[in-house]
Symmetry: C2
Subunit: 293 residues, 2 copies
């Protein structure tokens, strides 16, 4: 933050898309008094009214981003890709275009076509909530969360450092990695859990069609394992379709692991089942021993 000739406190920040993530970014900027001016762009009049009620300056049209030093794109991933040519046309030379989409590779590919004087960088805060929209936005959403930053080859190291410093003011922990690596990782630890939960819900609901007492016996185990199935489907489709190869491969690996366990179970191979399930149990315990649960 004490880089010579640059200070976030002099900057104008435009945020496009005031959902949970964009709204929380705007609220965090304001609460920490990070920058001189915040302009929030959203097409929905009701969302703008909610944001305006918290004192945030809003605009309906994208040309409001023109004076910004930082342009934060916080719409779903495919909308970001569609917006980028217009953002490139509006952004002033030297501005940083920073997106918060949940997948990074296809957005990075689209960012390569931005005009050369525009800086650009991908980002993805590893946090979320069941509830979406500005109404659920929270200035503390990013606190203690890992904030993935995915620079392109053209991204100046200084840009990465500035954005890392910015998200640190929100209490987030920046982690720099490339877009392709990010997408492969989140396929395993975020997108696969969603598809697994959705398939669980479908199978259990199919059983419930045959036996109406099925869900009367459901307890916390089913509740937690199926939780992600209730995620916003439009948002999840956007994620799945922009990361499809990695996710489809991991879903097939998961189905194969399950079929293998089912085979061991069907033939009563207790030793092999014990060894495999004990490995899963130890991995899970080791993982969350070091994390807050």
């Amino acid at each position: 933050m004490d880089e010579p000739g640059f200070a976030w406190r002099d900057a104008t920040v435009a945020i496009v898309g005031l959902g949970l993530i964009g709204g929380s970014f705007a609220l965090a900027l304001r609460e920490k008094h990070v920058c001189r001016k915040i302009i929030a762009v959203d097409r929905d009049p009701e969302t703008r009214a909610r944001a305006a009620a918290t004192g945030i300056e809003t605009a309906a049209a994208l040309d409001a981003i023109a004076p910004a030093d930082l342009i934060v794109l916080a719409t779903p991933a495919r909308a970001i890709i569609e917006l980028l040519p217009r953002v490139g046309a509006q952004a002033r030379a030297g501005a940083i275009v920073f997106d918060l989409g949940s997948t990074k590779r296809e957005i990075a590919r689209a960012m390569r076509t931005l005009p050369a004087p525009v800086q650009c960088l991908g980002g993805h805060p590893m946090c979320g909530k069941e509830t979406a929209g500005f109404a659920a936005a929270d200035a503390n959403l990013f606190r203690n969360a890992v904030f993935a930053l995915t620079p392109l080859e053209r991204t100046a190291p200084q840009t990465v450092a500035r954005i890392a410093a910015l998200v640190e003011t929100f209490g987030a922990r920046p982690l720099v990695l490339d877009a392709e690596r990010h997408d492969h990782i989140v396929a395993a630890i975020s997108h696969l859990p969603y598809t697994v939960a959705a398939a669980l819900m479908l199978v259990a609901a199919e059983r419930a069609r045959t036996d109406d007492l099925t869900f009367a016996l459901a307890a916390s185990g089913f509740r937690d394992t199926s939780r992600l199935a209730a995620s916003n489907v439009a948002m999840m489709l956007d994620i799945l379709l922009t990361n499809r190869e990695h996710i489809a491969a991991l879903m097939r690996a998961h189905a194969q692991a399950e079929n293998h366990l089912a085979d061991l179970l069907a033939r009563g191979d207790e030793d092999a089942l014990h060894a495999t399930l004990e490995r899963a149990a130890e991995q899970r315990r080791a993982l969350f021993q070091n994390q807050k649960s």
Copy 2:
């Protein structure tokens, strides 16, 4: 509780196995002053010492159950099946043998060989904790939980009514169904979620072997969906192996649902994906709308 000629307050209750469930049963009986006398049988001296420290009378040998009006078997399912012939030999005429195993069909089959003057009934409280053992036992564990009761053909209706009244004193909600139906249901809403979580943990850990940043990006979605993978494996094996046909069939159905979703994703069939995932989301939301979350 006001049945003529019978009152739990005059009864002696023996509990065999002082783990989380048996220990909680003993503590709930004592806290509600339900019965005249409680005898807790456990082979482990340390567990007996812990129980004795809370004022519960303990014994090491099974013959301590001889005077009991109610004998509660709270060991894992396969240990219950092994114990039943000895329990039948010790139990006095008219005593109720009530087991709390997590699967019911194989135990019910073993109960059919009990001497005719002994009453018997299966039970399964739909609650649990991550932590096992008497140290985690809690007099309030059964409060608001569904308590499945699975009578045999030989079980007198009066016996079912007495046990239902007993678990109601713990704040539980008795639900009577047959053992086969119970096992089919819990395969879908309890055992399948465990195997799904274990397979998820194995697939993610395999990815982490290739990329050491994998778990650095894991957040609450992965944490909740994988939680059951950390369950006690000895306990889960006991459950899986005494309910294997139902569980293996549902695991295969789940794998098939995932492969189907992976196919839709790989070919980018957005409409079909949307319809299927929206169905899962609506089912999940409808389910937990009416339940505490």
